[in-house]
Amino acid sequence: MARGYPVIWSTIIAMPILGTGVWLYLRLPDELYHVPVAVFGSFVIVMGVYVQLITPQEPVLYDDEALITTRHPSHRVAAGMMASSIPFLIAAGFLLFRTLYPYIYPTGVFLVGLYYFTKGIKTYWSNTLTRFFVTDERVISNYRFLSLKRKEIPMSKIRGIEENKSVAETLVGLGNVRLASGGGGGSVRLVIRNIEESSTFADEIRNLVRQS
């Protein structure tokens, strides 16, 4: 099963959208605003169900290999993006139904809100489908939506560890750790994005690299 309850959260997120679609249908039955809105809300629910059902496969460990920790990206960034879309969507509805401004204004504001919401919900699902495994021998990134994407770097091959935090990430207590197996085009790079206590995680990796 996927981490958390994406089906529940997606449904919760989709409820206002579907409610808006119903309201649009009741208020403007002869217009078709409710159709794309309802489709979008339904899409969010369906995607939530799908993401819930997708199970990121646990890596197959060697006999003498021990799983040390499991990490996953935080949902704070996704929540922030979706939250930032709310004022725009409310403003779009206000401009559309409570004022007589030309349609370009509510439409433009709606598209801005839609952009942030889309980025937020996509990040939420993407993070839900992503998981990082750290064993005493490897660091593994596991992601699956339709197809499986798995990357791993043996501890003995890690040549570089990079930490970075943007201002926003610092404020919300998140960070990124980049691992590289070496220089050149044949190197494998792993980006462990939006994780909590990224410095602690990086230190753990350093210790494991030294012990390997």
Binding site: R27, L28, E31, L100, Y103, I104, I121, W125, Y143
Partner: protein
């Protein structure tokens, strides 16, 4: 006998010829200006003499430079005085300080254009009037001197010289003319000479506006050009264009407007007099009280003289419906039924209230707003039309505009609270036609809304808003579709 007469005449002629040079020289000597202490002399002035026994060499400036007679152009300006300081004079530069060609309105037309036959007065102010007068010279564009044909000199005043240029007898094709004023004798160089041009052209007044069409309530700015500088132009409007009972001013007292008012010369007209300034006169009208429609400005050059004749210029302008401000229809209290229990369904054949009156415009199709409070939301616009047809006998049509058929309808429902807190649906019908009004009535025929409805466009509102919500819907749909697609693609690519 005759020989004696002839000999006498010859003797007289010989005598005159002998004394004539002396007479002329004496005259010339008399034209020399006698300069006393405290007077001005001008650089380049030749015919001067000093009072008393002083010689020019005795008069020196502060740098020790002596005065030379005749005064050269290079003579340094300043005070020259004798060593005993009893005699002093100042050397200055001769200047024409001002030169104007005034038309009959008293405005400067220098470098401008006048109509054929116009009379222009030249006024020259200069500082060397004590030395010599002004000479005027007018030449055509090819250098032909036409001064004698055009210029009549007036009596010069102290340091001011006036002359008249009468263009009645001159061919306008010879213009533009160059009018030069300068000292008539020595002082015809440098600042002592000035020139300007004057063209003769038969120009036509015109009126223009950036906005040929304005929304009722906005101001329309107009500009009148093609009239002489300083001329008064009068702009007229038929007062029948005003809304019933409107008592405000149509013309605004702004820009170059000198006066506004109503003229009762045979036909009453609203007028505004303006003065041409810098080639044009700019004014403004307020369209608050003007009925929507297309009207005409009439321009008359020189107020009053041709007010009953043909206008010199006209311009059509259009006033459109005022767009109503974004408003919400206030909750309409529904009379509480006397009997308890569910709200009875009103007879849909009549508006609620015995004295209900509909006001507001109707379109060509006579579509009208449903003002009653039905208990059920209509399923479609046809339901409203059906109700409307039932109510039609009770409706007084107002302001029917058959030129603006309504062809788009938008039905909205508002939930309102009745006095017993039971929600009722009041429908309002928005007719997307700028010339149609909608009304909603509440208690006993009380009119609560009577406003022209707005044609809401995609980029702008108004009667020309041909692109409507469909474009908004299309963009919204495309935006959502792209969002879904980007989500799927990004998720598949790995987030």
């Amino acid at each position: 006998m005759s020989r004696k007469y002839i000999a006498g005449i010859i003797t007289i002629l010989i005598g005159v010829s002998l004394i004539a040079p002396w007479i002329i020289m004496g005259s010339a000597a008399a034209s020399e200006r006698n300069v006393g202490s405290g007077d001005l002399v001008f650089q380049g002035e030749s015919e001067i003499s000093l009072e008393g026994n002083y010689t020019p060499e005795e008069l020196i400036n502060i740098e020790g430079y002596p005065l030379e007679l005749p005064v050269s152009v290079a003579q340094p300006m300043g005070i020259y005085q004798s060593s005993d300081q009893e005699f002093r004079l100042a050397v200055v530069e001769a200047k024409v300080t001002d030169f104007e060609l005034l038309n009959k309105y008293g405005e400067d037309n220098s470098g401008g254009v006048v109509r054929p036959g116009a009379v222009v007065e030249g006024v020259v102010e200069y500082n060397f009037g004590v030395s010599e007068s002004i000479e005027v010279r007018v030449t055509t564009r090819r250098g032909l001197d036409v001064t004698q044909q055009l210029v009549t000199e007036l009596d010069p005043e102290n340091d001011q010289y006036k002359f008249i240029i009468d263009t009645s007898d001159i061919d306008p094709e010879l213009s533009p003319f160059t009018v030069t004023v300068e000292g008539e004798d020595d002082l015809d160089f440098g600042e002592a000479t000035q020139s300007t041009t004057l063209a003769i052209q038969n120009f036509q007044p015109s009126i223009t506006s950036d906005d040929g069409s304005v929304v009722q309530g906005e101001h329309l700015t107009y500009a009148i050009s093609g009239a002489a500088e300083g001329a008064t132009v009068s702009i007229h409007i038929d007062p029948d264009i005003l809304e019933e009972g409107f008592e405000g001013d149509v013309f605004r007292d702004v820009g170059d407007v000198e006066s506004i008012g109503t003229s009762y010369n045979q036909l009453s007209t609203l007028y505004s007099d303006l003065e041409i300034d810098n080639g044009q006169a700019v004014g403004q009208i307020s369209t608050d009280g003007i009925k929507p429609g297309t009207y005409e400005f009439q321009v008359f050059v020189e107020s009053g003289e041709t007010a009953n004749g043909e206008p010199d210029a006209t311009m059509a302008f259009e006033v459109e419906w005022d767009e109503p401000p974004p408003t919400e229809i206030p909750p309409t209290p529904i009379p509480e039924p006397e009997s308890a229990g569910p709200t009875p369904v009103p007879d849909q054949s009549k508006p609620s209230g015995s004295d209900s009156a509909f006001s507001g415009g109707s379109s060509q199709n006579d579509d009208r707003t449903e003002s009653t409070a039905p208990t059920e939301k209509p399923d479609s616009i046809d339901d409203i039309a059906d109700n409307d047809s039932n109510n039609r006998d009770d409706i007084d049509p107002v302001d029917t505009d058959e030129n603006n058929p309504s062809d788009e309808k938008e039905v909205e429902t508002n939930e309102i609270e009745s006095s017993n807190d039971e929600p009722k649906a009041v429908t309002e019908q928005h007719l997307n036609d700028s010339s149609t009004t909608a009304a909603t009535t509440g208690e006993a025929g009380e009119e609560i809304a009577d406003e022209p409805q707005l044609r809401r466009g995609f980029f702008t509102n108004g009667s020309d808003a041909s692109i409507t919500f469909i474009d908004s819907l299309s963009i919204t749909t495309i935006g959502i579709a792209l969002s879904l697609l980007s989500i799927l693609v990004d998720l598949e690519r790995g987030g």
